[in-house]
């Protein structure tokens, strides 16, 4: 039994712990060994918190034996290195913060810890979450467990690779334009991005404040539901976190898809979508239909503008959010500055990588005098149009289904020359961020031996609907159980 522990989902681990089939410490030690063994090949972690993890596992075991413990007691997970963790390096994948020890815990980290979860480490990511391939990380790219020459997606690439490689049953991620869902799709894992405002952003290093949302990468929709129930809910420290009731997401997984109205966006299957990916997604839609869902076409007329809209709004917000990194209070500080201006320009010039600098500069440009109306304001208006398109669509359907990413995992280095080619990876996912909608990616097959994701988007606060849809789909299929050969 114990040799297979790493293959268990959170829900299975919880059951095993309850029945004392194994201990949290045993499981933790196994996963730490797997993390160590994979370090060379995957580069999924920036920090492994082995010592703290074993302490936490021991505490969890003691709680369990005493008949106490939270809902996640003893369950291992890893955090994307964008979440502040007290007294642990929190680098955000950047040279800027490669010496930054956060003095506090993010709300998400705190809630998981309070529920008894065991943090194994902090995962690699695109620098400041800006990237779709994990290649912008200061700590080097993460490799896809399905093919080490390929990307695990980004920006939550360390999280997706860790879960896919069975180094951890679950990981946190953040999703600003698809950074949870695209890596999940490219690694055959489940990625959930909740409604904007569903989960506190406190302690999550900001990229684009009106788009960022914390979520999870797991191996089943059931696990995602379990974790969402813990991380979601009001937080007084985040003004944009909404005081909206948190339902029992696990309880709402059951129930057939009969009568579920699934919207299909015609534009999603236009040119640009890889043919084999399209086949896998269409097959998945057929499964939903077979389960009783009705498929109808919906129109999102402004969808083609979502990527350019995003690449104005997100850089604008990031240019301002990242101004705090000036070498004075934390983060990289240039040596021997000759004056204040030099301290700023060199600390930032040295501390940030190329993509981050480009986005800061794009954002600075679109907000600057003379360009604000043409770019920033215009993008805010188009954002409204896109959100309106979704509102209309959700008056007719319960969920919108389609591909998560236009292609399966591409080769490292393939898209680094042209930023636009890279940006277009997020063409199907960005809309949900602009409109603040919940969405999930669930494995739905393979294209050329690489995982493909099915993307399900719901209306505001519709997490239960997309989770149920994904869960019911998973009951009929076994794509989410597929494990890369080298990591069985």
């Amino acid at each position: 039994m114990t040799a297979e522990l790493h293959l268990l989902t959170l829900t299975q681990i919880a059951a095993g712990l309850r029945q004392s089939e194994f201990s949290a410490l045993e499981l933790t030690e196994l996963l730490l060994r797997r993390i160590e063994a994979s370090d060379q090949s995957l580069n999924a972690f920036i920090t492994v918190t082995a010592e703290q993890a074993m302490q936490a596992a021991k505490r969890a075991d003691a709680e369990r034996v005493a008949g106490r413990g939270g809902v996640l007691n003893g369950l291992p997970l890893v955090h994307k290195d964008i979440f502040c963790t007290r007294d642990v390096l929190t680098s955000c994948g950047s040279h800027m913060l490669d010496n930054f020890v956060a003095p506090y815990d993010a709300t998400v980290v705190e809630r998981f810890a309070n529920a008894g979860a065991v943090m194994l480490g902090k995962t690699n990511m695109d620098e400041f979450a800006m990237g779709s391939s994990n290649e912008t990380s200061f700590f080097g790219p993460v490799r896809n467990p399905w093919d080490l020459e390929r990307t695990p997606g980004g920006s939550s690439g360390g999280s997706s690779a860790a879960v896919a490689a069975r180094l951890a049953p679950a990981a946190t991620g953040t999703d600003t334009g698809g950074s949870i869902r695209q890596p999940a799709a490219l690694t055959g894992t489940v990625g959930l991005k909740p409604t904007y405002g569903r989960v506190s952003r406190y302690g999550m290093i900001a990229f684009a404040s009106s788009l960022d949302q914390a979520g999870v990468i797991t191996r089943s929709a059931e696990d995602a539901a379990l974790l969402l129930g813990v991380m979601a809910g009001f937080d007084a420290r985040d003004s944009t976190c909404i005081d909206h009731p948190v339902p029992d997401y696990v309880a709402q997984l059951s129930g057939s898809l009969k009568g579920l109205r699934v919207g299909i966006v015609r534009q999603h299957f236009d040119a640009g979508l890889d043919a084999n990916t399209a086949l896998a997604v269409k097959a998945a839609l057929d499964v939903l239909k077979a389960q009783g869902a009705t498929l109808t076409e919906v129109d999102l007329p402004n969808l083609d503008l979502s990527v350019p809209t995003y690449y104005v709004v997100a850089p604008a917000e990031c240019s301002s959010n990242l101004s705090r990194f000036d070498g004075v209070r934390f983060g990289h500080r240039a040596a021997d500055p000759k004056d204040l201006f030099d301290l700023y320009c060199r600390s930032r010039g040295e501390g940030f990588g190329a993509e981050v600098k480009r986005r800061i500069m794009t954002g600075t440009y679109v907000l600057s005098a003379g360009y604000y109306d043409a770019y920033y304001l215009k993008a805010q208006q188009v954002r409204q149009l896109i959100a309106e398109d979704f509102r209309k669509a959700f008056s007719e359907v319960d969920v919108i289904a389609g591909p998560t990413a236009p292609t399966p995992a591409f080769r490292l280095g393939d898209k680094t020359d042209d930023p636009i080619t890279m940006y277009l990876n997020d063409i199907y996912t960005i809309g949900a961020n602009l409109a603040g909608l919940p969405a999930i990616s669930t494995p739905c097959g393979f294209a050329d031996g690489l995982p493909v994701g099915l993307h399900l988007v719901g209306p505001h606060w519709g997490e239960a609907a997309v989770l149920r849809c994904a869960h019911q789909y998973q009951l009929q299929t076994d794509w989410h159980l597929a494990c890369p050969e080298a990591f069985r």
Partner: protein, 480 residues
């Protein structure tokens, strides 16, 4: 005033709001703590932290808006003003730009000719204060203290309706008085709780188009506002009359040299790139809340002044000064309430000897060594002729020195006025008898000598004889 040039001034007053905690964090706002001990994660702009708005700040801004007859925005929005400076930890200041919380207010001042003049208030918006840079004793470094960062500020922007440094000061005093009345700011200028920037330009009289303005930064006393503006107006006029032109720039007033100079550090192209702060949502204020706040407003200086003139029949100027500070007005009213003398007599003492004593000892009215009721007791003893005005000054000083109430001082020092006609007559007769030659001179027409006799009588009575009676009796006895 210059006959050829018209001066145009607009003020931006920054007033710190007297909240316990900061505008977006739970750190204390108290003044004078050790550096950076009141700068929490949010104030330091730590990665990952977020602002949450202090509700008291919103209520205070509304109160101010209502006090200056402004409209309170049903919906206002916080924006980021982006620039790099060491005292600005996030690299942006959270402020309000397009939709401020208060707009279209007004207040009235006396202009240079003594007429009432309306000054428009364009807007008042909420923002966070910056930290402080310390330059002394750190060699080639500046030290940054972020205790002040995040202290709530209300920036009050006037229309360019002010036409002289004097008007600017009168306006600033009015605002100062209002924020203190409302209890929304301590108005402490030494501690920087109340400071202003002045936009100053000049134009030939009759010209409609405004001249190029300069912005004078960080004027933190009424005197500096007046001096800086006067200097700047003169500088601009001389510059133009010499054939030059004014450059739009930020200038710093140097109080030591009494001059303004260009701030080169602010000269580089600034582009603040304002945009709505995505970490904060629009602030909505329900009309019912506004009405509640309106009902809670205290009587404001303008209304109080009108009432003092009407109810107490005070002189206009006296009412103005008494109502400039709520504490002073309250003291006055308390004194009037326990006095049977005329209110104007009480006002004279409050504005005269009492104010002088407070000034001399650098005390606020709240720390007066003579409580209002006891000052009333003193005024009453003058009114009922127990003591003369002159003796009263001695009594006042004794009271100030802690010798007790007016009655106690009068009794212990035996200062009660002599009002018995026969007693005064006896002294007068003695004086006349003792100075025959002066009496002869007086009677032969040397009227000026009358004062000599008064002095002698007062001298012999220790100043306690009632002056009116002394005059009357002397006149009668000396005959003529």
């Amino acid at each position: 005033m210059n006959r050829n040039w018209q001066v145009v001034i607009g003020l931006e007053i920054h007033t710190q709001l007297a909240t316990r905690s900061k505008i977006f964090s739970g750190a204390s706002t108290s003044y004078g703590a050790a550096p950076n001990t009141q700068a929490c994660l949010v104030d330091l702009g730590y990665p990952g932290v977020l602002p949450v708005l202090n509700g008291e700040v919103v209520r205070m801004a509304c109160k101010f808006g209502l006090a200056v007859n402004a409209s309170i925005a049903r919906r206002s929005v916080f924006a980021r003003k982006n620039y790099f400076y060491p005292d600005l930890p996030k690299g942006y200041q959270i402020s309000q730009y397009e939709l401020p919380i208060v707009e279209h207010g007004e207040l009235f001042i006396q202009d240079d000719d003594g007429n009432e003049k309306r000054i428009g208030i364009t807007r008042a918006h909420l923002e966070e204060d910056a930290g402080k840079s310390i330059h002394e004793g750190l060699d080639q470094y500046s030290g940054i203290d972020l205790n002040r960062a995040g202290t709530p500020l209300l920036e009050i922007v006037s229309e360019p309706d002010l036409r002289s440094a004097k008007e600017a000061v009168a306006y600033m005093r009015k605002i100062h008085s209002i924020v203190r009345y409302l209890g929304i700011s301590d108005g402490n200028m030494q501690e920087g709780s109340f400071r202003c920037d002045a936009n100053v330009s000049v134009r030939p009289r009759g010209q409609q188009v405004l001249g190029t303005r300069t912005e004078l930064k960080n004027l933190n006393s009424f005197r500096f506002v007046e001096k800086a503006i006067n200097y700047e107006v003169q500088r601009q006029i001389e510059l133009i009359e010499d054939g030059g032109s004014v450059r739009q720039e930020t200038r710093l007033y140097d109080a030591d040299k009494d001059e303004t100079r260009s701030m080169r550090s602010k000269e580089e192209a600034n582009d603040y790139r304002y945009f709505p702060d995505p970490d904060l949502l629009p602030v909505e204020i329900e009309p019912a809340v506004v009405e509640q706040l309106r009902a809670s407003l205290p009587e404001l200086p303008g209304a109080k002044k009108q009432r003092f003139v009407r109810e107490y029949e005070l002189k206009n100027d006296d009412a103005d000064i008494l109502t400039a500070s709520r504490a002073l007005a309250d003291y006055f009213e308390a004194a009037v309430a326990s006095s049977s003398a005329q209110a104007q007599a009480v006002a004279n003492w409050v504005l005269g000897d009492l104010s002088a004593a407070l000034n001399r000892d650098s005390l606020d009215i709240g720390d007066s060594k003579i409580p209002a009721s006891e000052l009333a007791g003193l005024v009453d003893r003058i009114a009922d002729s127990t003591i003369s005005g002159k003796i009263a000054k001695e009594v006042f000083e004794a009271m100030w020195a802690g010798e007790g109430s007016a009655d106690a001082v009068i009794a212990s020092r035996g200062l009660q006025q002599i009002t018995d006609d026969s007693a005064i007559e006896a002294v007068v007769d003695a004086v006349i008898a003792a100075n025959p030659s002066q009496v002869a001179e007086y009677r032969s027409g040397k009227d000026k000598l009358f004062g000599f006799f008064v002095g002698k009588v007062m001298q012999q009575t220790g100043g306690k004889a009632n002056p009116g009676q002394v005059n009357a009796i002397l006149k009668a006895r000396l005959g003529k």
